[in-house]
């Protein structure tokens, strides 16, 4: 045991699907107590290291509050650049594990029953769980982290970690196929499995040592994180299926579900894209005047080769980010299209028409001989490989960020015709932001009398 740790970390703190977590759920008594003022919880929260207790609002008083705080933490962290993590320090406090697990199950049940698996609420739940695990792992000591990872790996069934489950991690290059140790389709993570199935092949080397060298902590953590997210998703579907056969859902759960929606409806109004004072650029209708030379060229239609790449890899990410999330490179969070455009109205009415027009102006018109390229446009906006844009497919692919000038010069050299603004930027999107601000300034100053 490490002398710095307050107490051992319960694996349930990281993995709500562990036996330890299920034990906690079994031992928890009456559901009605989740509304009651919980002195133990309040004490744990207020005594969490570096917890900000100046504002009564930040302290959860019962398990219901705690459940909502988990969601609020995620939403604020993602959308608010001035996110103050000291308001949520207790979420990293391992001593809240018992309450935290109950809060997790309440949330999942509430969301599944009310919204089902393909909802925005479910998606947020799954992502929040992934992020929370990531942040909690980040707070652990290396030795603790290893122990937890080891414990979780031990509980995985043989053959459970197929590499094919992680296509999205590969596609977004978070992991590389060549960095994984693969055997019979499995990603080798577990030490015993390694020793049994591969270790004997090693001559003159200590298999244990080789395991430590070859199977890095980072890959383990990424994979386990993704598996817990997957399990959360599966569990949501399972609960949803069961709830379809029941008569009346528990009103407590329905109320919790409504509160989750309320939190999700706040953020864009309260946190993101507000005010020029802090230098943020809000999502707003496109101003084509501010487009960089390269984008203007594509919009006029590609007359020669490179049609596909220009429209799909270059234009689609540019237009969608310029319209919806121009700040992407200045803020360290990834968003999905529907986070900004929940009804996909801007996508349908502004973004796609512009891209389709540019495709139409190509010689020959892009969709005339390759209508299937529409699928790729959808894919680059994060909606998977489908011919229609539908929320239920969002996340199957990633929303590609715009190419840098360097990449444009390399892959689509005919597009780059730099002007003087280009000298000070590295990405066509930054060009756009720069020009937008300039244009606004020009407008403002020209209105000034005298």
């Amino acid at each position: 045991m490490n002398k710095y740790s307050i107490c051992m970390v319960n694996v349930a703190f990281i993995n709500p699907f562990s036996d330890e977590a299920r034990q906690i759920v079994r031992e928890y008594g009456n559901l009605n107590t989740i509304y009651q003022e919980n002195g133990d919880l309040i004490q744990l929260v207020t005594r969490s290291p570096s917890q900000d207790i100046s504002d009564e609002e930040t302290i959860p008083h019962n398990i219901m509050d705690l459940a909502l705080k988990r969601i609020e933490w995620y939403v604020k962290k993602k959308n608010n650049p001035e996110f103050d993590y000291r308001k949520y320090s207790y979420l990293y406090n391992r001593n809240i594990t018992n309450f935290d697990v109950i809060a997790f199950y309440l949330l999942v049940q509430a969301i599944s029953v009310k919204f089902g698996p393909n909802s925005r609420e479910s998606r947020v739940m799954v992502e929040a769980q992934g992020k929370l695990m990531e942040s909690r792992m980040g707070e652990l000591l290396l030795s603790e982290k290893r122990e937890i990872l080891g414990t979780i790996l031990n509980t995985l069934l043989p053959g459970e970690v197929k590499w094919t489950m992680f296509a999205d991690l590969l596609s977004s290059r978070k992991i590389k196929l060549t960095d994984l140790v693969l055997d019979q389709g499995n990603i080798i993570l577990d030490k015993d499995y390694f020793m049994e199935n591969l270790g004997y092949k090693l001559e003159h080397r200590d298999p244990g040592k080789m395991y430590d060298l070859l199977i890095g902590d980072k890959i383990k953590e990424l994979i386990i994180n993704r598996m817990i997210m997957q399990k959360t998703e599966d569990y949501i579907s399972e609960v949803y299926q069961k709830s379809q056969r029941q008569v009346e859902p528990n009103p407590i759960l329905l109320e919790l579900a409504d509160n989750v929606t309320e939190i999700l409806n706040q953020p864009m109004a309260t946190y993101g894209y507000r005010g020029g004072a802090t230098g943020k650029v809000e999502a707003s209708p496109l101003n084509q005047e501010a487009f960089p030379p390269c984008v203007k060229i594509v919009l006029e239609g590609m007359k020669s080769g490179g049609r596909n790449d220009a429209i799909i890899l270059f234009l689609t990410p540019f237009i969608s980010y310029a319209r919806l999330y121009p700040d992407v490179f200045r803020r360290n969070t990834t968003l999905r299209v529907s986070d900004v455009d929940p009804e996909l109205a801007a996508v349908e009415k502004e973004i796609l028409p512009l891209i389709y027009e540019a495709a139409e102006r190509c010689t020959p018109p892009l969709f005339e001989d390759q209508p299937q390229e529409k699928v790729n446009i959808n894919a680059k906006m994060g909606f998977g490989m489908h011919s229609e844009i539908e929320l239920k497919h969002e996340g199957e692919t990633t929303w590609y960020t715009p190419m840098s000038c360097e990449k444009v010069k390399l892959h689509l050299p005919s597009l780059c015709k730099p002007d003087k603004t280009c000298k000070s930027i590295g990405n066509p999107l930054s060009y756009y932001i720069r020009r937008l601000t300039d244009l606004k300034y020009e407008e403002a100053t020209s209105e000034e009398p005298g």
Partner: protein
């Protein structure tokens, strides 16, 4: 003798004879016939490329009639399954394919102009090592081998990969072909260790070792490699028999660590060409239809049931070739 009649283009009359007398709709593999309505077909009628596209068939009998009457120069079908194949719309999934063309093998022993028995054989060796990796490392099933007329296609129907995007397919190609230099530094507890790829007998380092050994053993004094000069090439060839029983350590020290690094770097980039990556990452590619005639070389494109015994010069030569007057 057959040989001097081989690899000559088929005349329109020979094509017609092939489709009327020899070809049978039952020769089309099941992996096509069971999905015929979902695929786009493409045809080349004049020998100028497959410009008759977007063709669909509601059933195999219509395909049979079409081939009988039109006896095309070449026939293709999409690797993609669509809801509306006639518009290439409503993409559902695509086979994962690997194309090994005998004339594009990076290091060819034969040095022939087009394709010959030697390089076709080499292509089959490569195919068989790819299959080993696909099964052993990646755990994939439902793999079919097709002789294309100038090389081989691997076509995978494993559901777990059929919906993967181009990026992931590209990484699979890299993994299979040994196109990326494996890292040789590994860290644990803040200490960095050097581990050469050949000391790790599994996973990607093993794949890289296998592909690289294969390449080195097939080098000829004429092979051009970036970064490898004549002197180095000579030394490699002189010492390469060490690799036949995996004496990599000794081989490396004979060559010298610096030069060894240069060598494997060049080989890695050469390995990229083992498989035509463009084909693998293209989700809506059309591939030559197995059982159809490759008219350019007068050979049948056909599914290979047993790669151990397959000999294209025995099994893929249409009857009309034997009846040609020399």
């Amino acid at each position: 003798m057959v040989s001097d009649q081989l690899l000559k283009p088929a005349t329109p009359e020979e094509r017609r004879r092939y489709y009327r007398e020899e070809w049978d709709v039952k020769d089309v593999p099941e992996f096509i016939s069971n999905s015929v309505q979902k695929r786009e077909f493409g045809f080349d009628h004049m020998g100028r490329g497959p410009n008759h596209r977007y063709k669909v068939f509601r059933n195999m009998d219509l395909l049979r009639k079409f081939l009988r009457y039109r006896a095309p120069f070449a026939a293709y079908s999409s690797v993609a399954f669509y809801e509306k194949p006639q518009r290439r719309d409503g993409w559902i999934k695509s086979e994962l394919v690997f194309d090994v063309d005998a004339k594009d093998i990076p290091i060819r022993e034969c040095g022939c102009e087009g394709v010959c028995e030697v390089c076709l054989n080499q292509a089959l060796e490569i195919i068989s090592s790819l299959i080993d990796t696909l099964k052993g490392d990646l755990g994939l099933k439902d793999i079919h081998v097709v002789y294309s007329g100038r090389g081989y296609h691997l076509r995978l129907f494993d559901e777990s990969v059929m919906t993967m995007d181009s990026d992931v397919r590209g990484q699979i190609v890299q993994y299979l072909s040994g196109a990326e230099l494996p890292r040789n530094e590994y860290a644990a507890e803040g200490v960095t260790y050097k581990l050469e790829h050949f000391t790790i007998p599994f996973g990607y380092p093993q794949v890289f070792t296998d592909r690289t050994r294969y390449a080195i053993l097939h080098l000829t004094p004429e092979t051009q490699l970036d970064e490898v000069n004549q002197k180095l090439l000579k030394d490699v060839i002189k010492n390469r028999e060490l690799l036949e029983d995996n004496q990599w350590g000794i081989f490396r020290s004979k060559i010298g660590p610096q030069r060894f690094q240069k060598l494997i770097r060049s080989i890695a980039s050469l390995n990229m060409a083992l498989v035509d990556a463009k084909v693998s990452i293209d989700l809506k590619r059309i591939l030559r239809l197995p059982s159809s005639l490759h008219s350019m070389v007068s050979m049948k494109c056909m599914e290979v049931k047993n790669i151990e015994t397959f000999d294209p010069f025995k099994e893929a030569v249409p009857k009309f070739v034997y009846e040609r007057k020399s």
